[in-house]
Amino acid sequence: MDELPILPTTVIGSYPRPKWLREAIRLHKAGRISDDELKEAFDDAVVTVIRDHQVAGVDVPSDGEIRRDEMVEFFAERLGGFRFYGFVRVWGDHYYRKPSVVSKITYKSPMLLDEFNFAKSVSYTPYLKVTITGPYTIAEWSYNEYYKTKQDLAYDLAKALNQEMKKLVEAGAKIIQVDEPAIHTRKEDVEWVVDVVNESIKGINVKVVMHVCYGEYSYLEPYLDKLNVDQINLALKNYDYKPVKLFKKWDREIGVGVIDVHNKRIEDPEEVAKDLRMLLEYFKPENVWVNPDCGLKLLPRKIAFQKLVNMVKGTLMVREELKKKGYTTISLKPLVNR
C-alpha cells in the first residue's frame, strides 16, 4: 500500500533554475547550442532539483517545473486554440507571454508525459508530484477572443486537461496537483469554477491536490465541499495564518504553507515547528501535509534550498511528537471517488 510518513513534506512545484541552465537557455535562443544540447541541460537540471529535494529530505518532490517558462504559457503553447502576440508586464520588470484564445481549444498531444517519465526515472521516490495548471487559471490569465463566455472556454480547457491527466495516471503518476491560483479572483465566478475543476479531474483516481495561493480565500470557502479534490494546499505563512479559520470545516487533506516564498528570510526549524503545532489545533494530523506557500522559483536557489531544509527539520520535530501519540503514516489512497 502507498504510504507516507505523518505530516508529509512536499513542494508546490517550481524551483529556481540553476544559473548554468539559464545560460544554456540564453545560448539556445541565440542559436549557439542545439535542441538536443538544451534538452540535455534541462534533464541535468531536473536531476539537480530532485537531488536538492532529496538532500533537504522532502517526502514528495517535483521536477521543479524546470522546463516551463511560465505556468500558463507552457500549456497554451501545447494546446490547440491559442495564439501569442507578445509580452505583457505582470509587475515591475516581470513579463510573460499572455496567450490569446483565437479558436476552439483542442488537445493535441501529451504535454507533460516526457517530463514526468524523465523525472520518475531519476527520482529517489515513486511519490513524485506532477503539477498542471488548472482550467480556470489558464482561462483567466489568457485573452478570450473566441468564446462567448469565459465559462465556455474554461470547460473546454477542463476537458483537454482531463485527457492529459489520464495520460499521466496511465504513466504511473500517483499525485497530481492542479494549480488554480486564479480561482478566487472573481467572487461571481467561483461557483461554476468548482464545477470546471471537477470536470478536469473526472475519472482521475490517484491523489488529486489543488493549489491555491494569494487572494481572497473567503470567496472559495462556501464551495469547498463541492470540490472533488483530496487535498487543497494554500499559501498561509505570508498571511501569518489568518485565513486558517476559513478552512476549519474542511475535513479532507490540507497542505499548509509554512514557508514564505516572497521573503528571502529563512524560517528556522523551531519557527516551522511552532507554526505546525498551532495549525494542528485546527486540523487532524492525518490530514496535514507541509509545503511552502507557493513555488520557490523566484528565490535564489541557495535560499530556496535552505528554506526546504528548515521546513523539513521543523516538520520532523513535530512528527516525532505525533509518533509518540500513535500517528505514524498516512495513506496515498484518494479520499474522493471521481
Binding site: 502576440y85 505583457v88 508586464r89 505582470v90 515591475g92 520588470d93 490569446s100 485573452y143 478570450n144 477572443e145
Partner: protein, 322 residues
C-alpha cells in the same frame, strides 16, 4: 460634430526599456546613456501618437512601474509595500504604505518627465494623477487610520502643489478614479469627494478629465457626475456595453470620454461599434465625445495597442466623413 481621440494612462513598456531601467537602478549603466535610450523610445511614442491622429496623450508613463509608483514619487510620508493585484487584473502594483502625514516631495522626477515630454510633443499633453478615493484604496494607511477625510484632504493638497509646480508642462489633468465604481466602497466616502476635488484643482486653470474603468455602477453615478471636472470618463467595453443605453440618458450636455478600445483584451474592436457608440452619445445630447483606450495599455501587448489605435484612427475618420 466634434470627435476627438486620446491615449489614457500608459503605453506598454518595451522589454528593452525595462532592461535599461533595471540596469540604471542597479548602477550598471550611466544615467546619460539610459536617458538617451528613453528619449529614443519617447520620440517613437510621440510619432506613433501623431500618426494615430490622437488629440490627447500622456507622457507614456514609461519610467513608472504603475500608477502607484508614479504617485509615491511625489509624496513624502509613504513607502512602497507588498505586491497587490491591480483591481481584478493579473497585473500587480506595490501598495502605498502611508507612514506619516502626506506632504509634497519637491524633489520628484515626475515634473522632470513631464517637462521633457512637453519639449518633445505638440499634442495636448495630460498629467496623470490618482483621484483621492483610488489613492486611498491602493494604500495601506498606518497614519490617518479612521480619519480618512484628513487623508483625502492632505492628498488633495499635495496633488494641487504638484499640479501648480508642473503647470507649464501639461495642458490637461487626467484623474484616475476607478475605485468610485468598485465593490465594497462605502457611500459616505464617495459623496464628499467633490470637496477634495475642489482642493485638488484649486487655482489651476486647465482642462480636467476624470476616468473610471473596469466597473460602472448607477447607484454612484450621480456623485461621479457631480465631480468638478470638464470630462467624465467611462469604460464602455466588456460587460459595460450593455449599460450604455442607461448611461446615454445621463450624459446630456456633458463632455464625456469613452474607453472604446478594450485595454484588457487582444480582440480588435469593430469600427461599426465605435461609430455607433459615438453617434448614439451625440444623439442623446452629449456635448463632446472623446474616445480612446479603456485603461492602462500595459495589460495588452504593444503590437495590439498599435493595431487598436490604428483602428481608432480609422473609426474617427469614418465618423467625421459620415
Amino acid at each position: 460634430m466634434q470627435i476627438q481621440t486620446a491615449l489614457v494612462g500608459s503605453y506598454p513598456r518595451p522589454i528593452n526599456i525595462a532592461k535599461v531601467l533595471s540596469k540604471l537602478k542597479s548602477g550598471k549603466i550611466e544615467k546619460q546613456k539610459a536617458e538617451k535610450e528613453i528619449e529614443k523610445f519617447l520620440n517613437k511614442y510621440f510619432q506613433f501618437a501623431k500618426d494615430s491622429g490622437l488629440d490627447y496623450v500622456t507622457d507614456s508613463m514609461i519610467e513608472w512601474d504603475d500608477i502607484a509608483d508614479l504617485t509615491t514619487s511625489f509624496l513624502k510620508g509613504v513607502e512602497k509595500g507588498a505586491l497587490e493585484r491591480f483591481f481584478d487584473n493579473n497585473f500587480y502594483y506595490r501598495r502605498i504604505v502611508i507612514k506619516d502625514r502626506l506632504q509634497y516631495n519637491e524633489n520628484n522626477e515626475y515634473i522632470i518627465y513631464l517637462e521633457r515630454a512637453r519639449k518633445m510633443s505638440n499634442l495636448k499633453l495630460k498629467a496623470v494623477v490618482l483621484g483621492p478615493l483610488t489613492f486611498s484604496v491602493l494604500s495601506d494607511d498606518l497614519y490617518y487610520k479612521k480619519n480618512i477625510k484628513n487623508l483625502f484632504e492632505d492628498y488633495a493638497m499635495v496633488v494641487n502643489t504638484l499640479l501648480k509646480e508642473a503647470r507649464n508642462y501639461y495642458d490637461v489633468i487626467e484623474i484616475h478614479e476607478p475605485a468610485i465604481f468598485s465593490k465594497g466602497i462605502k457611500k459616505d466616502l464617495i459623496e464628499p469627494l467633490r470637496t477634495y476635488y475642489n482642493s485638488m484643482l484649486k487655482d489651476i486653470n486647465a482642462e480636467t478629465h476624470v476616468l473610471s474603468y473596469f466597473d460602472l455602477r448607477f447607484d454612484r453615478i450621480n456623485a461621479y457626475l457631480n465631480l468638478p471636472v470638464n470630462v467624465y470618463g467611462f469604460d464602455v467595453t466588456e460587460s459595460n456595453k450593455v449599460k450604455l443605453g442607461r448611461l446615454y440618458r445621463l450624459i446630456k450636455d456633458k463632455e464625456v470620454y469613452f474607453g472604446v478600445l478594450d485595454s484588457r483584451n487582444t480582440k480588435l474592436e469593430r469600427i461599426s461599434t465605435i461609430k455607433r457608440i459615438v453617434l448614439s452619445a451625440y444623439q442623446k445630447g452629449a456635448k463632446r465625445v472623446i474616445i480612446g483606450n479603456s485603461t492602462f495599455n500595459d495589460l495588452i501587448p504593444e503590437v495590439i495597442v498599435k493595431r487598436k489605435f490604428k483602428l481608432l484612427k480609422r473609426g474617427k475618420e469614418m465618423i467625421l466623413n459620415g
